[in-house]
């Protein structure tokens, strides 16, 4: 006599009993006796062909009969036979895909479809993916074009800027014909021309603490193509709070960085840089310049990581900061760790909502220009002073290579960095006007000179760009 234990879901077919005692020399015999007594159990245990169903495991005491003699396993008096379901599964293999690829899409993505790492499943993952792309500038241009081409189904663009001529050296998503157009429109047009099978959401706004969570919550992941510290901290914090990976990249002159922040268990931007640099210390691309090709390299590293995250393929760039030096043509990697004390992603975070990132980065409201202490001087007035033959010194605090691009003939070149050691060339009794490209660096020069005891120093507002606009249009803008 063997005891057969009935699993709870089958009890309703076995007279609500949890165990049945039956005679039989083998497992097959007692199961046959069981299903003869309770005929409703038969189809739960056996196929129409009379074979045990694949999801039925049978144990004799503690042993699986598959490793004994299967249904011929002999039974002794007092043995316990248990029926245990076999349960497994997994996401692989989409049975009923939410969307299918059309014939045209299959042709378009054929080079993806024939790779086992992508295949139909992967291409559908790309099609179902929703990616937010912050900025359609240097990094955003290659990102937008390649993510569109790869078939990322929905891409949300966030930008409020207008295309200008200085963008075209690197922002290849925009063309000469687009100068003056909204970057959103120009970028979306290029992307839809590359791939009309995708959808593009246009968010014409500057990402802010007020709108970031609302905009980003609808996307699976966020790609940061911005160029300033307040927005980087904003994107980072929003991604951590929303639990969405932040594919990060940054560029300056010949060097770039890329990594994936806010991935579960990985570090965030604040783990790497808990505090922003003092305002003005790190020049932006507009101030310091950037090799036009560089954002192509970094943006495409971000695009690669984005596609990998969507596919779940390979090893994501998490916990590793990839550094690229174009001049040396070298890639290096720094290990990053999540900081358990991080105020936003740490074990006991102190930041639970978005903050004022302009203030956090020490940038005064409204103006990006430092406040010039004793007033600015307009370019028209500077021109009048020159024309009148007033006695004053105009110093140009830009770099020599900028001076080569354009200059005001009256001005004397003293680069900002050389000012401390060349300050003795200036006479504190004389009236001094400082200028640079747009007025930021010359304001710093004015502050420096005032601290050095100069009284009559003023900043030429708007720099040589304003000079070109208002005084002499023959002076090229850069």
């Amino acid at each position: 006599m063997a005891k057969i234990l009935i699993p709870t879901p089958l009890r309703q077919y076995a007279g609500k009993r949890d165990a049945v005692e039956l005679h039989g020399a083998t497992v097959g015999e007692v199961l046959h006796a069981l299903t003869s007594q309770y005929s409703d159990l038969r189809r739960h245990l056996y196929t129409d062909e009379g074979k045990l169903r694949s999801f039925v495991n049978v144990y004799v005491n503690d042993d699986d009969i598959r490793y004994l003699s299967k249904e011929a396993t002999p039974l002794k008096d007092g043995d316990t036979v248990s029926i245990v379901p076999s349960i497994a599964g997994g996401s692989a293999g989409i049975a009923a895909p939410p969307v299918a690829l059309s014939k045209d899409e299959i042709l378009r993505y054929s080079r993806h479809l024939i790779m086992p790492e992508v295949g139909m499943d992967g291409q559908l993952k790309l099609k179902n993916a929703k990616v937010a792309l912050i900025g359609t500038g240097g990094l955003g241009a290659p990102l937008g074009m390649y993510l569109a081409a790869a078939g990322v189904g929905r891409i949300g663009l966030v930008d409020f800027d207008v295309v200008d001529f200085t963008n075209l050296q690197r922002q290849v998503i925009h063309g000469t014909k687009d100068v003056g157009r909204k970057k959103l429109d120009s970028a979306a047009e290029t992307m839809l021309d590359i791939n009309p099978f995708i959808e593009i959401d246009r968010h014409e706004t500057a990402l802010s603490s007020e709108n970031a969570l609302q905009i980003l919550k609808d996307y699976d992941l966020v790609v940061d193509g911005t160029d300033n510290f307040p927005t980087r901290y904003l994107v980072n914090d929003a991604c951590v709070l929303l639990g969405k990976p932040n594919v990060y990249g940054s560029i300056f002159r010949f060097e770039g960085q890329a990594t994936v922040f806010a991935y579960p268990g990985g570090p965030c931007y604040r783990c790497l840089y808990p505090e922003p640099p003092p305002p003005g210390l790190v020049p932006s691309c507009a101030e310091g310049g950037v090799l036009g090709i560089l954002p192509g390299v970094i943006g495409l590293i971000q695009a690669t990581e984005t596609v990998k995250l969507i596919l779940g393929a390979g090893e994501p760039l998490v916990g590793r900061l990839l550094l690229y030096d174009a001049l040396a043509m070298r890639f290096r990697e720094l290990k990053l760790r999540r900081n358990p004390h991080c105020p936003v992603c740490g074990d006991h975070p102190s930041i639970h909502e978005l903050i004022d990132y302009q203030e956090f980065c020490g940038i005064p409201n409204q103006a990006h220009e430092p406040v010039a202490a004793a007033g600015d001087i307009d370019v028209v007035e500077v021109k009048a002073k020159i024309d009148r033959g007033d006695s004053f010194v105009l110093i140009d605090v830009r770099e020599p290579h900028e001076y080569q691009i354009c200059r005001i003939d009256y001005a004397r070149l003293i680069p900002l960095g050389d000012l401390p050691k060349r300050v003795n060339e200036l006479d504190s009794a004389e009236e001094i006007v400082a200028h640079c490209k747009s007025g930021v660096r010359s304001a710093k020069a004015v502050d420096f000179l005032k601290q050095a005891g100069f009284r009559k120093v003023r900043n030429m507002k708007g720099g040589i760009l304003a000079w070109s606009d208002k005084v002499d249009p023959s002076v090229p803008k850069y």
């Binding site: 234990l5 699993p7 709870t8 879901p9 089958l10 009890r11 949890d18 189809r43 739960h44 169903r53 694949s54 999801f55 495991n57 144990y59 699986d64 248990s82 245990v84 379901p85 076999s86 349960i87 497994a88 599964g89 997994g90 996401s91 692989a92 293999g93 989409i94 049975a95 009923a96 895909p97 939410p98 993952k125 179902n128 699976d220 992941l221 639990g243 969405k244 990976p245 991935y263 579960p264 779940g312």
Partner: protein
């Protein structure tokens, strides 16, 4: 239809999020189509667990005996789909068992996104969706 009471549901979501980016699994206990307790189980698959799970039969046996001792039944099983939707996949179907409700939890980027429940047939050919009420 399957109804999952809040404490059980919270256990399932928390298990799915904690196991992310791997797949989690577990069983649901209750009576009359109402799940009152969820029991997280270890994923016994020895390969990559990002898109596959296996329940250890010993665990299932043990949980079933405990359920019986406390007067409840194993009503269903649950597992997670990390970074994809809560569909019933080809693999799910190939390994399914018609005795149970199959609740699939979609976890995206570490957070619960949505869930569906399915009732597979005997031949592992189809798994119609059933109404799922939770929380």
């Amino acid at each position: 239809m399957i109804r999952i009471e809040k404490p059980a549901w919270d256990t399932m979501v928390s298990h799915a999020e904690k196991t992310f980016p791997k797949e989690c699994c577990g069983v649901m206990l209750g009576t009359d189509g109402v799940v009152r307790q969820a029991v997280p189980l270890a994923n016994a698959y020895t390969g990559p667990q990002e898109d596959f799970f296996v329940m250890d039969p010993q665990d299932l046996y043990r949980v079933d005996r405990q359920a019986q001792a406390s007067g409840v039944e194993v009503l269903g099983v649950f597992h997670s789909h990390p970074n994809c939707d809560a569909y019933f996949s080809k693999r799910d179907l190939e390994h399914s068992c018609p005795w149970f409700s199959y609740v699939v939890l979609s976890v995206k980027n570490g957070r619960f996104d949505h869930a569906n429940s399915y009732r597979p047939d005997f031949d592992q050919k189809e798994a119609p969706k059933e109404e799922l009420i939770y929380g």
